[in-house]
């Protein structure tokens, strides 16, 4: 079995996007899948990921004038907006769950996620915390380099690497236990 930490360190950093500013349509077409996949893994809710992705691009459209390709690639910038949108979503969900708990209403069964993964991997992903899933989404699914991911999450590169390593080990353990 390949060592997970070794595997993570061999992830190649995607070369930084050209400083030429792409048009919004170009950025949307090129990075829509990345934004959606990030949100899908992060939220584990296909419907929510779709809505959040749409909201992300609407917000990006409004703030497109502020985008500076010299400071970050369009993908990183869009992911930053997506993260903000997702956090708002999580907060709203937390408030909703709290209200439901106060009203003693039984919590509805969460819809089965549809990440396009094997059921075993989806179950393992479900057992991870949202923070770990987010890191996996950014570093593995989107193949974002450590610096960009750390900057996006507001943590150090060391913390980013350590947390990813732990998350992948846990994922591996969960899948081994599931066998």
């Amino acid at each position: 079995m390949t060592d997970v930490s070794a595997a993570t360190t061999t992830l190649s950093a995607r070369p930084f996007a050209s400083t030429r500013a792409p048009s919004f349509a170009e950025a949307a077409e090129r990075h829509l899948d990345d934004v959606y996949r990030y949100l899908l893994v992060f939220t584990r809710d296909a419907s929510a990921a779709e809505d959040l992705a749409a909201e992300t691009f609407e917000r990006a459209l409004r703030t497109w004038r502020r985008f500076d390709p010299a400071r970050a690639s369009a993908r990183t910038w869009l992911c930053t907006i997506a993260r903000s949108v997702a956090l708002d979503h999580f907060r709203a969900e937390q408030r909703r769950r709290r209200r439901e708990r106060v009203a003693s209403e039984p919590e509805g069964q969460a819809p089965p996620p549809d990440l396009g993964l094997s059921p075993k991997l989806e179950r393992a992903m479900a057992a991870l915390s949202a923070a770990d899933r987010e890191l996996v989404a950014l570093r593995i699914v989107l193949d974002l380099d450590t610096d960009a991911a750390a900057r996006l999450l507001g943590i150090s590169t060391t913390a980013c690497t350590t947390r990813l390593s732990r998350a992948l080990k846990r994922l591996e353990e969960l899948m081994s236990n599931d066998e």
Binding site: M1, T2, D3, V4, A7, A21, S23, F24, A25, A28, E29, L32, D33, V35, Y36, R37, L40, V41, A46, E50, A53, A54, F57, E58, L61, R62, W64, R65, F67, D68, A70, L87, F90, R91, Q94, D114, L115, G116, L117, S118, K120, L121, A126, A127, L128, S129, A130, A131, E134, V136, I140, V141, D143, G154, L168, L171, E172, M175, S176, E179
Partner: protein, 349 residues
């Protein structure tokens, strides 16, 4: 399942559905971006450039200030607070003052042979005050002081005050001598010969008019007293009138005594001159400031300007530091709170 397989499968997470793609691609193209006329400032890079620039600017301003102002020599000031002796112009001015004429100060250059004195008037009553600063050799301070006292007594005067401070052979001595005005000119000349006269000041104030006014008042009071005494002695005065006359007589006598005493003091003032003498050894004497060259003055002015700049900077730091600290603490607190809130939010599956 191997790690590679997990990673490969994760990378194969499905992409955006067509409905989302259509929805996003249907968004209108935003207005064209306005190109930034100025590059965005990176704080670290800015600080890296700004700090040396500010330092260079401060040093440059100090150097410029030194070059511009260094050429004009600054006014030397003696260490004892008095204007330096070489700056005292030898002038004698006369102005009306109170009861008589007042003569201005006489200053002399620091040359022993320059000693001179203003002769007091032989026909009028003068208040004569002289001040001398004399430099003597290290081992001659004590003997010069003794000699000065002897001179005062020799001219019929006395020593009002002696204050001598002699750590080793060096030191200072201050004397206040009272010498008859009629002989003060000679006394001053002899006192000046005890050493090297570094500075001299003479002040003469005419007291004749003041003394004459007092004399007239005394004569008038004496006449009043004689008249009152005659009326009291004549008799035929009612008890009340007698009491009133007696009170007036007592009051006139009291005023006469006071005026007589004042006039005696004035006459004494005009009889005895006050000579203040300050002896010092070369080390203790006021040293003329070194006349700095242009380069030295430039460097000194630049240094002084730099010190002022540092003082302003320090002041600004003292004033702004608490505000900056509070702002930093606020920002740090907000960021920490937000991060913890996010951590709690994302800690759940």
């Amino acid at each position: 399942m191997t790690s590679d397989a997990i990673l490969a499968e994760l990378r194969g997470t499905r992409g955006a559905p067509d409905t989302l793609r259509e929805r996003v691609l249907a968004l209108p193209e935003p207005e064209p971006r306005v190109s930034r006329s100025l590059p965005r400032l990176d704080f670290r890079r800015f600080a890296l450039v700004a700090a040396p620039a500010v330092l260079a600017l401060g040093l440059g301003a100090a150097a410029l200030h030194g070059v511009v102002n260094g050429g004009s020599g600054s006014r030397p000031v003696a260490v004892d607070g008095n204007p330096p002796a070489w700056e005292l112009a030898p002038n004698v001015t006369q102005s009306a003052s109170g009861g008589g004429a007042a003569y201005g100060a006489l200053g002399l250059k620091a040359a022993p042979q320059a000693l001179s004195s203003l002769p007091p008037s032989s026909t009028r009553l003068n208040r004569y005050e002289a001040w001398l600063r004399v430099q003597v050799a290290d081992d001659r301070l004590s003997s010069a002081t003794t000699r000065a006292m002897q001179i005062a007594r020799a001219y019929g005067g006395y020593v009002a005050l002696v204050d001598m401070n002699t750590p080793g052979n060096k030191g200072t001595a201050s004397l206040v001598l009272r010498v008859p005005v009629t002989r003060v000119e000679d006394a001053v000349l002899r006192l000046g010969k005890l050493g090297e006269v570094k500075a001299q000041r003479v002040r003469i104030q005419d007291l004749t008019r003041q003394a004459n006014v007092l004399r007239r008042q005394i004569v008038a009071l004496q006449a009043t007293i004689a008249k009152l005494e005659r009326r009291l002695a004549a008799g035929g005065v009612s008890p009340d009138e007698r009491l009133r006359l007696q009170y007036q007589l007592d009051e006139a006598k009291r005023t006469l005594a006071q005026k007589t005493k004042t006039r005696a003091g004035t006459v004494r003032e005009g009889t005895l001159a006050t000579v203040s003498l300050a002896f010092s050894t070369p080390q203790a004497a006021v040293v003329a400031p070194h006349r700095a060259g242009r380069l030295e003055r430039t460097a000194r002015d630049a240094g002084a300007f730099l010190v002022r700049e540092l003082a302003w900077l320090l002041y600004a730091v003292i004033v702004l530091a608490p505000i900056a600290l509070l702002a930093a603490a606020l920002v740090f607190g907000i960021r920490t709170g937000r991060r913890r809130s996010e951590q709690r939010l994302l800690a759940q599956p």
